[in-house]
Symmetry: C2
Subunit: 222 residues, 2 copies
Amino acid sequence: MPYSYEYPHPAVTTDIAVFSLHQQQLQLLLIRRGQPPYKGKWALPGGFLEIDEDLESGAKRELKEETGASDLYIEQLFTFGRPDRDPRERIISVTYFALAPAEKLSISAGSDATEAAWFPADELPELAFDHAEIILLAKERLAAKTLYSTIAFQLMPETFTLSELQSVYEILRSETLDKRNFRKWILSLNLLEETGEMRRNGNHRPAKIYRALFPDRVDMIR
Amino acid sequence: MPYSYEYPHPAVTTDIAVFSLHQQQLQLLLIRRGQPPYKGKWALPGGFLEIDEDLESGAKRELKEETGASDLYIEQLFTFGRPDRDPRERIISVTYFALAPAEKLSISAGSDATEAAWFPADELPELAFDHAEIILLAKERLAAKTLYSTIAFQLMPETFTLSELQSVYEILRSETLDKRNFRKWILSLNLLEETGEMRRNGNHRPAKIYRALFPDRVDMIR
DNA sequence: GCAAAAGTGTTATCCCTACACCCATGA
DNA sequence: TCATGGGTGTAGGGATAACACTTTTGC
């Protein structure tokens, strides 16, 4: 026990709610716990912060270790610290939420090797700790942000059609949108450019392929 | 050094940015540091989290100890954790921002006894640690929230006139508002009721006095 | 009666919503 | 030629923004 302090110190962890889209559903990445407490239960990826590591760096490191994913959109969500939230010791969890297009992530649904799996965001298994509460907040934040930001772009691959983008908005907002109004609105933001390419996708007219002009930007202009 | 851990643990503090209105200005409460580091510099009220204390309770306790204020509006702002943000040891700061009507706070501007003082939010002294960054974020959050919430009510006394309320909005948003449009809008929210009292305030027509119907509610209906 | 803040409506503009048909392709 | 999703414009309604004068009081 080589680390001693005059006053008790809580442990600090980062936990990350990573959302992606698979099979036309919003999905959340979970890890199955191999150790007690909550052994066998599912939990958010995350872990203890290293002592010389920035909070966001810690979150990204944990995510990379557990999912292989890097370079995804991440933002701080909330800090949870109920004294009894972990039975082992006092743990403060700085939580993040992250978004990534499906093809950026090496984890596949139900991969047994890593004990990580995607779950539809509205059909989650029993969760360890207070992670259900964290996930609820993350889902609320995500839904709210679709209304006033372009965060949905973070779920898109590098190029996409307007119908694909509309479909993502519809999934995130759980409602159907009018095609003409959606296109008018999204194009009026001047955040997309045509690539000049077309996507032929079946027995119908090909779709123009677009690219986000500012792929890292999440806040709307105006 | 009675508290030992197998791995190093950071310390956890809460810091609170408390805003209030005095002399028609948005003011922020600061504490002068009596000890190094940053001795003599001004800093946000706050301090170390106790080991069995919830985060928000810790913030409220620190605030009460240092300002005498309780029962004010408080919400979590962000968690700061750059490894070098405190020269003594690794410290994670869970920050809060709080609002209170002037008369709820026992601290008076420039009180030497407590070494606490109000500063106009746009004329702050040199600050300790990364507190300038924290305050910047708190100010942004406050300004943003005036646009889509009724957080401004948290700065009002129990009863007030519409002109007084408008003045608060104008200070928070740094712009003048049209009197008729402001009144139409604020009354249409159905969050105010007339007390029946009038305020006589000088050589002019007295103003109706209003009260917030749901003083703790911050989110707008609709 | 005058200065000073309280109080009060109407009009124009903009934005959002609703809504239906033709186009290009593959089979 | 037909089925399928891609692509396009306009009109109405609601909310927001602009704008000026009358009222009540204290001195």
